[in-house]
């Protein structure tokens, strides 16, 4: 039944929209669609972004791995390499600081009336994605495969059951959040 549900293309578009609406609502209520909050995080002055991300990861990690243990969902880890994940990540970071939004929160910023997000950032992201599509064949050949390590997860690399990583990772992230609160950040 779940399978036919997932294969119904029209229904899936509606689910995508529905999940997006709740996602956008939460991002705006969390304050992370605001320039000040994102740049404040990058200046290490406001830790709202980290608090939102870490609690999402803790909750989602436990939930997704529970459903996976029940054989209801499959993981979809992305492949990576030094040339792709690290270099692309650094380019992303510089854009993140200059723009003050990311690809998800910029859509949220547009929804709350941030004109710089709509006229500047949104158009820029579309152009940047287009430039990548243009450069892709050459980058794929020369850069993206440098230091390839595939779509492995940390438990696979360590050769242990995923729960042996999920539980310590959740505890470490909870500890980090408690420490940030303790410091009054």
């Amino acid at each position: 039944m779940l399978e036919s549900f997932r294969k119904n293309d029209r229904l899936q578009l509606i689910i995508g929209l529905f999940i997006g609406i709740i996602f956008g609502f939460l991002l705006q209520k969390g304050g992370v669609t605001r320039y000040e909050v994102i740049v404040g995080q990058l200046l290490l002055a406001d830790f709202t972004v980290l608090k939102v991300m870490a609690s999402a990861v803790i909750t989602g990690m436990i939930g997704v791995h529970l459903l996976r243990s029940l054989r209801l969902v499959k993981l979809h880890p992305k492949p990576g390499s030094v040339g792709s994940s690290a270099l692309g990540g650094l380019i992303f970071g510089v854009g993140f600081a200059l723009l003050g939004y990311c690809p998800g929160t910029i859509a949220g910023a547009v929804g709350q009336g941030s004109v710089d997000a709509l006229l500047g950032g949104f158009c820029g992201v579309l152009l940047g994605a287009g430039i990548f599509a243009e450069l892709y064949p050459r980058l794929e050949e020369k850069v993206l495969r440098r230091g390839e390590f595939g779509d492995k997860t940390i438990p696979e690399i360590l050769g242990v059951s995923s729960w042996l990583v999920v539980i310590p990772a959740a505890l470490i992230m909870i500890g980090l959040l408690l420490w940030i609160e303790e410091l009054g950040l």
């Binding site: 992370v32 002055a45 989602g60 939930g63 270099l87 990540g89 510089v94 709350q112 064949p137």
Partner: protein, 173 residues
């Protein structure tokens, strides 16, 4: 209930837990992690196709990510709507071209801000596709699956972001 929806801000932990539950729903109902950046590739491809014709579909990258409206494009459209709904309910919807923190450092000229936002957007779009994901696809969805690629990418997002922000605003601000 309505009072709660009209609040300006919720606890970041509550918001985060909500996003985590949303991820579980996305895996369960759609067999997909939440991600945003391929939506921009597809949209960019659709715009290119409208201008240059159907040959654009033959580009290697668009054979991988077909330029059509898919689940993720709908998700990004949903984010705009959801945020608009939240901002309207709390009465914080406001047209603003220059964020105050930017103005305090670089002045009130909207064109300077738009130019910087555009340049930042280009790097963001390029970097997200280069790394194969963004703050949601790698930063939340990938890390919660404990994917090695995502933990490396998210570390680099913040290393690059913190360094660039410190330089832009003068270190130690």
């Amino acid at each position: 209930m309505l009072e709660y929806l009209e609040m300006d801000l919720w606890s970041p932990y509550l918001v985060g837990a909500g996003i985590g539950i949303l991820e579980v729903l996305a895996f369960l109902l759609s067999d997909k992690p939440i991600g945003c950046s391929t939506a921009y590739s597809r949209t960019s491809g659709m715009m290119e196709r409208a201008v240059f014709g159907p040959g654009v579909r033959e580009k290697a990258y668009y054979r991988k990510f077909e330029p059509v409206v898919d689940w993720e494009v709908m998700l990004v459209a949903g984010i705009v709507l959801g945020s608009f709904l939240s901002a309207t309910l709390s009465g914080t919807f406001r047209l603003e071209a220059v964020p105050p923190l930017w103005a305090a450092r670089f002045g009130l000229d909207p064109l300077t801000r738009l130019a910087a936002a555009f340049a930042g957007g280009v790097l963001l779009g390029l970097g997200a596709r280069w790394a194969g994901g963004c703050t949601s696809g790698h930063g939340i969805s990938g890390t919660l699956q404990l994917a090695a690629s995502s933990w490396l990418a998210v570390a680099c997002f913040f290393v690059g972001g913190v360094a660039a922000a410190m330089i832009l605003f003068g270190a130690g601000v």
